[in-house]
């Protein structure tokens, strides 16, 4: 740990104008060069907002960053002036979105859409940018890339489009890629192809990645570190092995329990009862309390503090962790 982390997010909070509590609350994590951090959580947990906030692409208003810093190579991404942020975006930080069907401009040829990202951040001529775009298509392993430069997005399948998105995000060899559910919309076979591609590209370029997903299977495949989010709060974070082998937070455990396994077992699935609290009305204490089988009055009223769990980088925000001790005490 001689080097400072590539990205150091501390206390990031996001709020909808006119609501009482932060939607994303006091989020902190770090990411080192070349590493992959998976942010995992169910819909509405604020994981996409976090990524957008880091990109400076939050829809303001009504969404607004209300606190925290995000230091990236010396700059605070949350307070950087828009013009400088634009210089970073697409150059040092790339982003891959969930919906490959809608994230590409339907009216522009894909070659132009890649070349545009290159031209924006380099001095390359139009021809060179085009050559670079071709190279990128080749690197994301799109078959017959020469002919694909001049087609429109609708001519491509979902998997191919997501490869194009990856090409755009990686066109300027960024230090950091934010990938927001990049494979959720894809078939499982295509998902496997795309994940493999991302792994390989990351290995080749040394790019760090924040991968946002709700699929623990994808997490297990891709992550070095994991951050589990629930209702805008980070409930547990740590190295991937720690999260899978030593989950501490009831939500993490519940999430893992409720996944049907591939090795059969016709037992009833374990569930997390209830629903996620609405975005405009977050509860005051532990946000998971209402759904937690272990919660008591303290949980409902006081936000839990984050504590280390064994491994120093494995941290959990729960009054009851580790569970077995609580149960013993009871």
């Amino acid at each position: 740990m001689t080097e400072a982390p590539l990205l150091d997010v501390a206390g990031l909070s996001i709020r909808i104008d006119g609501t009482a509590r932060d939607l994303v609350s006091d989020l902190s994590f770090t990411l080192n060069k070349g590493e992959t951090l998976c942010i995992v959580g169910e819909s509405g947990c604020g994981k996409s907002l976090t990524a957008l906030a880091l990109m400076g692409l939050l829809a303001t208003p009504p969404l607004r960053v209300t606190g925290g810093t995000a230091r990236f190579r010396g700059d605070d991404l949350l307070t950087l002036p828009p013009a400088q942020m634009r210089k970073l975006r697409g150059d040092r930080i790339g982003m891959i979105f969930q919906e490959p069907m809608t994230s590409l401009n339907p009216a522009l040829k894909i070659g132009d859409q890649i070349a545009e990202a290159v031209r924006r951040h380099t001095e390359l001529s139009e021809a060179d940018a085009r050559a670079h775009a071709l190279e990128m298509l080749r690197r994301v392993r799109i078959p017959a890339p020469e002919t694909r430069l001049d087609v429109y997005p609708h001519n491509l399948s979902g998997g191919m489009r997501q490869r194009v998105m990856i090409a755009i995000a990686l066109a300027n060899t960024p230090d950091l890629v934010l990938a927001d559910e990049p494979t959720t919309a894809l078939d499982v076979t295509i998902q496997a192809q795309v994940l493999e591609l991302m792994r390989n590209l990351q290995r080749d370029t040394g790019t760090a990645m924040i991968l946002i997903t709700h699929d623990l299977g994808v997490v297990a495949e891709m992550a070095d570190h994991v951050a589990v989010m629930y209702a805008g709060q980070m409930v547990e974070t740590g190295p991937v092995a720690a999260i899978f082998d030593d989950p501490q937070h009831p939500y993490t455990i519940g999430l893992m329990s409720s996944m049907p396994g591939l090795d059969g077992g016709s037992d009833r699935l374990v569930t997390i009862p209830g629903v996620v609290p609405p975005a405009r009305d977050m509860p005051g204490g532990c946000r998971f309390a209402a759904r937690c089988p272990f919660a008591d009055a303290q949980c409902a009223q006081v936000p839990p503090t984050t504590s280390a769990a064994g491994n120093t980088s494995h941290r959990v925000a729960c009054w009851k962790a580790p569970l077995e001790q609580q149960e013993d005490a009871a």
């Binding site: 076979t189 493999e196 299977g217 082998d245 049907p260 591939l262 090795d263 009862p273 629903v275 580790p322």
Partner: protein, 364 residues
């Protein structure tokens, strides 16, 4: 072998969609469902899996005649519903129900929950208004919603709750067969588990026959008794779920299984056994439709279309090499949780089971 009681059966079922007619020549035809023979046994859960565009949703709709087939028969309890009179079909619908994929869009936003769930009863002229209200309240309780939601509108509910409403609506007429088109795939994991449990409970309680369309193999593995794997409008493999997962006979099935990312550390990486995208259903490959993506394809695969043949007890596969290939099925990582961790999981299981599985505590 037990002689199974077949409740729903298709023969040579086809659905073709006409594409846009080009300036010259004939219009292209999309063969969404192309000659499917399927037997659904009374009381079982049959899963139909496949990638998007393989025709599984079309097949689901053909099974309950939400669209008319182009060819072939669908026989329900001895009656061919493929060419039945519309009025008669309307009456049959109390027996054949459908659960839709998207709980956000499959409920009329302008009707109350009560009206939505009651509607099938009203259509099929069940009892008096009062009887129906009672039945609706009962049904709501069964899917774990308080009776007080009866006058609310769908948008006031979360996805999981809406899917429960959809299930209540489908089951209220006491159907014999329920087709679920991806009934849980739009839901978050925690909610998905709730809904899967409800479906299973109801199936057991009501003695339903379930046909589940799904792309998530884990869900299929959990819910189904038997599985049919579809590829480009055809069934390529069929068999009991455990056997099929353990010993796939068709390379496509094996590839599907291999592609699933497993939520375990140290599990094998999801493998890319399949290159490229599924071909366009307009320009179908000759021979075996899977051959362009198949590692094991040989000359014969390019020319001859394999039939769905028996490969073992209750097992069928449409592959020229089904009996010679030895394909990898699902194998766990062998990695097991530490005792502490396992204890934690057990604690959770125990604690959450104490809570009613649904949010019946909801105050209203």
């Amino acid at each position: 072998m037990i002689r199974h009681d077949i409740i729903l059966e298709t023969q040579a079922l086809q659905k073709r969609f006409a594409g846009r007619k080009p300036f010259f020549g004939e219009a292209k035809v999309v063969r969404a469902v192309d000659g499917i023979n399927l037997k659904v046994r009374r009381g079982e859960t049959l899963a139909i899996v496949g990638e998007s565009g393989c025709g599984k949703s079309t097949l689901a709709r053909l099974l309950v005649r939400l669209m008319p087939p182009s060819d072939g028969t669908v026989v329900y309890e001895g009656r061919n519903i493929a060419n039945i009179a519309p009025e008669e079909m309307r009456h049959l619908r109390r027996d054949l129900q459908f659960i839709f994929q998207d709980p956000f869009s499959s409920l009329n936003p302008r009707m109350t929950i009560g009206a939505l769930i009651e509607e099938p009863l009203r259509v099929h002229k069940f009892g008096t208004k009062q009887d129906r209200r009672v039945k609706v309240a009962e049904m709501l309780a069964r899917v774990g919603l308080p009776a007080s939601v009866i006058d609310r509108y769908p948008h006031e509910f979360s996805g999981g709750q809406r899917q429960r409403i959809g299930i209540a609506r489908a089951l209220i007429t006491g159907p014999k067969v329920v087709i679920g088109d991806e009934p849980v795939s739009a839901l978050d994991v925690s909610i998905q588990a709730q809904v899967i449990n409800i479906l299973q409970d109801l199936k057991d309680d009501l003695g339903l026959t379930l046909v589940i369309i799904a792309h998530d193999l884990a869900v299929v593995r959990h819910m189904a008794d038997r599985v049919a794997v579809m590829y480009l409008g055809e069934i390529v493999e069929q068999g009991p779920v455990a056997d099929l997962f353990a010993n796939p006979k068709h390379p496509y099935t094996a590839a599907l299984i291999a592609a699933i990312p497993v939520a375990e550390i140290g599990a094998r990486h999801a493998a890319t056994k399949l290159e490229g995208d599924p071909p366009n259903p307009i320009d179908l490959p000759t021979g075996c439709r899977f051959h362009p993506r198949c590692q094991h394809a040989t000359q014969i695969c390019q020319t001859n279309r394999p039939a769905l043949d028996g490969t073992g007890p209750d097992r069928w596969a449409a592959c020229h090499h089904a009996n010679t290939l030895s394909l990898q099925g699902y194998i766990g990582s062998g990695h097991s949780r530490s005792p502490t961790t396992q204890a934690r999981f057990d604690l959770y299981r125990a604690a959450s089971a104490v809570l009613p599985p649904q949010d019946q505590k909801t105050t209203t």
